[in-house]
């Protein structure tokens, strides 16, 4: 048992050293390099998931936005952070003023509603 423990300790040490050397030679940083294109975007592109919730959207836009699933009207809720479909509880996040109107996003932030 003690031998096994020592072996793991040794393996972890070697792994750690290997990682440190690799990071020193080529820092992993962002994942763009994974595509292996050799041609990278001129500036890093941020994921919208990291963008803050909320932001202004116009009344004109609110009037024509509907739930992409049942095509029914939505309500601005949670201090303007989400658009709620009161029929099924789907909540569509607004990030940086851009409504994210994907059914899977609506489901992800779903809440229990009286009607649902």
């Amino acid at each position: 048992m003690k031998k096994l423990f020592r072996f793991f300790l040794f393996a972890a040490l070697i792994g750690g050293i290997a990682y440190a050397i690799r990071e020193f030679i080529s820092p992993s940083g962002d994942d763009y390099t994974k595509s292996g294109s050799g041609v990278l975007p001129s500036e890093p592109v941020k994921s919208l998931d990291e963008a803050p919730l909320g932001g202004e959207i116009s009344d004109d836009l609110l009037r024509i936005l509907v739930c992409p699933e049942d095509k029914g009207p939505l309500e601005l809720v949670d201090d303007g952070k989400f658009l709620l479909n009161p029929r099924n509880g789907y909540r569509y996040p607004i990030r940086n003023g851009i409504p994210v109107m994907l059914i899977e996003e609506g489901k992800k932030y779903r809440v229990e509603t009286q009607e649902a």
């Binding site: 292996g36 041609v39 500036e43 592109v45 919208l48 836009l61 009037r63 992409p68 409504p99 059914i103």
Partner: protein, 260 residues
């Protein structure tokens, strides 16, 4: 488990490559942009929607002609680039939404114009997208699609396979006949079409979406073994770094209830 649906493939393919589309010459200066405006004659009171807008080139050329321009894409990073470009160009009548072309989040009969340029070949269900466009258009509204088309039969299948090898988010380019059928089936009338060849430089085209060197070799291999009909369609010229080929781009326009 990684999501391998066409939508997820498009998001993962275009997310990291979003910035390349702001400067890609074919997309920014494509002759179809100016021609689209000529054909559509957008009016000052119109509300227009550009679906799968990518970096927003189509939306930005239409925006100065209309009252409101709505811009959607399924890839948040693409819209981020588009929003940045809009601010840079001082275009202030545009609004952005993340949306799926096949499940549009808009009420019925709200738009005078729906456009979609060089994107439907990524859609899993083109028929559904065309029906959605019909639904959100006002009676008399115009629907305009610009996309690469392929010849019918095995030649077109080969060209699609070639595109899929370079870009796994490519689903299928339709033939011109299929586009006309799609529009007619959704209820569009007064359908008009235009085709223009566009010459592509192979090297930048191959790597724009992050293809590996192995994939580029495989693409060359496909060309080396392409059937005669495919070579006639692609019209290869030059060699090595100077290799170019031709793709065929169609503009297909239909009107909802032409009599209305």
């Amino acid at each position: 488990m990684p999501d391998s649906s066409p939508k997820a493939t498009v998001q993962s393919q275009f997310g990291p490559n979003a910035a390349k589309y702001a400067t890609s010459r074919v997309h920014a200066k494509g002759a179809s942009l100016a021609r689209l405006v000529e054909l559509l004659q957008p009016q000052a009171e119109w509300t227009a929607l550009d679906v799968a807008a990518a970096a927003g080139h189509t939306a930005f050329i239409l925006a100065p002609h209309v009252a409101h321009m709505l811009v959607t894409d399924i890839t948040p990073e693409m819209l981020d680039v588009a929003a940045g470009l809009a601010a840079e160009k001082g275009i202030d009548n545009v609004a952005f939404e993340i949306a799926d072309a096949q499940n549009l989040p808009f009420a019925d009969e709200r738009f005078n114009l729906v456009t979609c340029r060089i994107a439907p070949h990524h859609f899993a269900d083109v028929s559904r997208f065309v029906r959605e466009a019909w639904r959100v258009l006002k009676p008399g509204g115009l629907f305009a699609v610009v996309d690469n088309i392929v010849p019918p039969g095995p030649t077109g299948d080969f060209v699609n396979e070639f595109e899929i090898l370079r870009d796994p988010s490519h689903v299928r380019c339709l033939t011109l006949g299929e586009w006309c059928d799609e529009l007619a089936a959704a209820g569009f009338g007064a359908i008009t079409t235009e085709i223009a060849p566009k010459r592509m430089a192979f090297a930048p085209w191959a790597v724009r979406l992050g293809a590996t060197p192995e994939t580029v070799i495989a693409l060359h291999g496909m060309l080396a073994h392409a059937p005669q009909a495919v070579l006639e369609f692609l019209q290869l010229q030059g060699e090595g770094d100077d290799l170019t080929f031709e793709l065929s781009e169609a503009i297909v326009i239909g009107r909802k209830n032409p009599a209305a």
